[in-house]
């Protein structure tokens, strides 16, 4: 029996389990890219109008940091590749790593793989099947994106180069996840390490792209995301870039197969060390338990956010210099920040935009923290706690504390990081630190609304907790693409982030913030009332 025996059956099983999830990802990502291109073609039909939109953007380090190099911003294809190439690649990579972990380490952790492993299934079949499914989805996104863009009348070479760059990003991180799934015993940690690698690749590219002449632009070349960007879709495609990408994928897959062959089913590469024989005195209540379960995740997010903040802050002051006195650019950048064409301080607009993105990411933390409740329930770990005098509401509040107050910690970290970095550059530490920390914390009400949606779903329709993630996806689409695509105001208003004061620089109105806080409280309350009434387990 070969180590790959049964891969076909495992692939069919994975496709059966993901028959809704994968098509949603593939369709959503393809539609995102093709829709962006279609909107650019509609909104900026002439070369002159595109040139006007793009002036300055190509030389703006902040914009380069967030979106990547704009190699040719005078064509619809080039604009699309610039605007969506980077974030699209990150999303495809995220999908791929989640899919691979879901079908490898998560299956192993729950013990389901053992059930299959005892049948006529080779040792590497599960891994091979998970990678095959992820790569298949990546290829589908690549091909469909290429076809969609060709359908809009864009050049075939550019269309398929952009499609292939998405597919390549997905495959790289499918392969990375194949490695991280071997390292630890927990799927959550495997996802965390792989996502950390993705974040690091993105940040390396961002710093490298933001660097001016003589700066550390070589950093981009340390990042697979940077390589993929250098395929330059619609701007003189460089196909050879996919060579090293393929080599990296091959190396990761080979390494992961080798690691998989060396370890036992269920175990990680690192042996589990013994822990304390008894609980510390403070491990004595639902909140203490929640702290134990959330602290690692919270620390990881906070460190990541602090790094992100330092990066965002350190390139802020460079922006004003390059674009001084060009109202067009100010308008263009301000529009990216969702300020609807206001002028004001361009640096502030950039910082507000960056912190807004951090707010969206922090919402992901809050949602996963809230949905720990559901994870605990379905893993039947809620039952032993609820069989003690701890009531459902106290049990839930332990976890919700981390979704609510806990999500302030990463936000504070990004604000402080940005404030310190920006303050040191401008020699104005005393002003910038509280200013940017405040700007970051003002994101909280919108973060809470999204977490509230997850809690309401958990309490009222526990099978539909994915609603929290769907709401976040909607906010990302609206917030990131709405202003550029000139969506109607009502569509923008759907996202709670639209209603936040644009800080730093904007005016603070208490009313919308209070409304959001009230809405979040009502959603959480509805969820808790539902939880009290429904069956648990």
């Amino acid at each position: 029996m070969s180590t790959l025996t049964g891969t076909g059956a495992m692939i069919r099983l994975a496709l059966r389990r993901d028959r809704i999830l994968l098509p949603v990802w593939v369709y959503g990502l393809t539609a995102l890219v093709v829709g962006t291109a279609e909107s650019f073609a509609r909104l900026y039909p002439t070369v002159a109008s595109r040139r006007q939109f793009a002036t300055g953007i190509g030389s703006n380090p902040a914009v380069r940091a967030i979106y990547g190099h704009g190699f040719d911003l005078t064509s619809v294809g080039g604009l699309t590749a610039w605007r969506i190439g980077g974030s699209g690649a990150v999303l495809v990579a995220l999908m791929s790593l989640l899919v691979v972990t879901r079908h490898t380490r998560a299956e192993e952790e729950t013990g389901r793989l053992e059930l299959l492993g005892a049948t006529v299934v080779g040792r590497h079949a599960g891994l091979a099947a998970a990678v095959a499914v992820a790569v298949g989805a990546d290829l589908a996104i690549g091909v469909l994106t290429g076809l969609g863009l060709v359908g809009l009348g864009l050049s075939a070479a550019g269309s398929f180069a952009l499609g292939l760059s998405f597919g390549a990003a997905g495959m790289v991180f499918a392969a990375v996840a194949a490695v991280t799934a071997q390292l630890t015993g927990s799927a959550r940690a495997a996802n965390g390490i792989a996502a950390g690698a993705l974040g690091a690749a993105y940040l390396l590219r961002a710093v490298g792209d933001a660097a001016g002449p003589g700066g550390p632009s070589w950093l981009s070349w340390l990042s697979p995301v940077g390589w993929i960007e250098q395929s330059r879709a619609f701007a003189g495609e460089r196909w050879w870039v996919f060579g090293p990408v393929a080599a990296l994928v091959a190396v990761c897959l080979g390494g992961s197969a080798a690691l998989a062959g060396r370890r036992d089913t269920g175990a990680g590469l690192f042996a589990e060390r013994p822990g304390p024989a008894g609980g510390a005195p403070r491990l004595a209540g639902p909140f203490a338990l929640a702290w134990r379960l959330h602290r690692g995740t919270l620390a990881g997010w906070s460190i990541g956010f602090a790094v992100l903040g330092v990066l965002l802050g350190s390139i802020a002051s460079g922006i004003g210099d390059l674009v001084d006195g060009s109202p067009q650019v100010e308008r263009a950048v301000a529009r990216l920040g969702g300020q609807g064409g206001g002028s004001g301080d361009i640096v502030d607009a950039y910082l507000a935009e960056s912190i807004g993105v951090a707010g969206l990411i922090a919402a992901a933390y809050a949602i996963q923290a809230a949905l720990r409740l559901r994870a605990e329930e379905t893993a039947q770990r809620a039952e032993p706690v609820l069989a003690t005098p701890v009531g459902r509401i106290r049990w839930a509040c332990g976890h919700l504390l981390f979704a609510g107050a806990g999500s302030a910690v990463p936000l504070l970290a990004v604000g402080l990081g940005a404030g310190v970095a920006h303050g040191l550059r401008t020699g104005d530490l005393g002003t910038q630190v509280p200013r940017l920390a405040g700007a970051a914390l003002v994101q909280l009400p919108a973060v809470w609304v999204l977490a509230g949606i997850a809690v309401a779903a958990f309490g009222l329709v526990p099978q539909a907790t994915v609603a929290g993630w769907a709401a976040l996806a909607a906010c990302v689409l609206v917030g990131q693409l709405g202003p550029v695509l000139r969506l109607d105001q009502w569509a923008l208003d759907v996202s709670p982030f639209t209603h936040l004061p644009k800080l730093p620089g904007g005016t603070v109105a208490a009313a919308p913030v209070l409304v959001l806080v009230g809405l979040a409280a009502a959603l959480v309350l509805a969820g808790l009332v539902g939880l009290r009434r429904r069956d648990v387990g």
Binding site: G275, A288, R292, L386
Partner: protein, 303 residues
């Protein structure tokens, strides 16, 4: 005699599935009550309703004199629960789990905890994800038994335990009974039930089929009789209450209902008895009869 658990007419549906269908269960204070039934009969659902985790659709439930949903916090202070499928937090050690659950329940006895760890031979320093099934079960058992409570709800607590641990478990339950605690023990291990339980309730398809002591249940079942006779056993097969008759020459084996025993013996004596072996039904036969579906099941016994 006071009642620890009193359930009447309990009904629960999950979507189209009817899990409980008018179930009755009465557990006296201070007894070990066996809770038996085939897989999917509704045992775990009943226990979850007793814990207030699930809401009953119809029927009355009283637990330690209270309402499991309304008074859950107060009642949970007085009981301990071992789930059928023990899952532990992967990053907590077994010792941390035991202490945490004990403290959530209002404190545990450190001496008893140490004693139980030793008797169950459990290493409390291992992380939750590294325990085997049997050891996970032990963690839950130690956490439950180390607490001073009135009622233990145990859902197949010995699944995965080796025979040595099984016997430790039996000793522990006997000690619990001596201390006056009430135990509801859901189990498929028949000699465990026979060794520990004062009374049993057998449920099937969400309904209680039988309740009583094992002696009561035996009485409702068939005795197996093998006899060496003076002549051929003609006409025995037609006697009321006699089943599964096999005849080899003058040797007869059959099963007989308690009510038919008298008639059978009279008939055999008329033929002339050279040797006679009569065996009460084994528990296994008893339970197979209740567990099996349809006409060969409980109706046959009740006849």
């Amino acid at each position: 005699m006071t009642t620890a658990i009193s359930v009447a007419g309990l009904t629960k549906t999950f979507g189209p599935t009817r899990a409980l269908n008018g179930l009755d269960l009465h557990v006296h204070s201070g007894e070990v009550h066996g809770f038996l039934g085939p897989n999917g009969a509704g045992k775990s659902t009943t226990i979850r309703i007793l814990l207030g985790l699930l809401r009953a659709d119809a029927g009355t439930v009283r637990l330690l004199g209270g309402d499991p949903r309304r008074d859950s916090a107060a009642l949970h202070r007085r009981l301990a629960y071992v789930p059928g499928d023990v899952t532990l937090w992967p990053t907590l050690t077994g010792g941390e789990m035991i202490d945490l659950l004990g403290r959530l329940r209002g404190g545990l006895d450190p001496r008893r905890r140490a004693d139980l760890l030793e008797r169950f031979d459990l290493d409390p320093t291992k992380k939750g994800r590294t325990y085997s099934k049997g050891n996970r079960q032990k963690v839950a058992l130690v956490a439950a038994l180390a607490c001073d409570v009135e009622l233990l709800l145990l859902d197949e607590p010995t699944a995965g335990l080796d025979p040595v641990m099984e016997s430790v478990f039996r000793d522990c339950i006997r000690a619990e009974r001596r201390d006056g605690r009430t135990v509801l023990l859901s189990s498929h291990v028949l000699d465990e039930v026979e060794a520990l339980c004062d009374r049993v309730s057998i449920i099937r398809n969400g309904r209680t089929e039988q309740t009583g002591t094992l002696a009561d249940l035996r009485h409702l079942s068939r005795t197996s009789v093998t006899a060496e006779l003076a002549g051929p056993p003609t006409g025995v097969a037609d006697l009321p209450g006699v089943h599964e008759v096999t005849v080899r020459g003058t040797r007869l084996s059959c099963q007989v209902d308690a009510a038919g025993l008298d008639g059978l013996l009279a008939a055999l004596t008329r033929i002339g008895v050279r040797g006679l072996v009569s065996r009460p039904p084994t528990l296994e036969e008893l339970f197979l009869r209740y567990y099996q579906d349809g006409r060969t099941g409980a109706q046959a016994v009740a006849r």
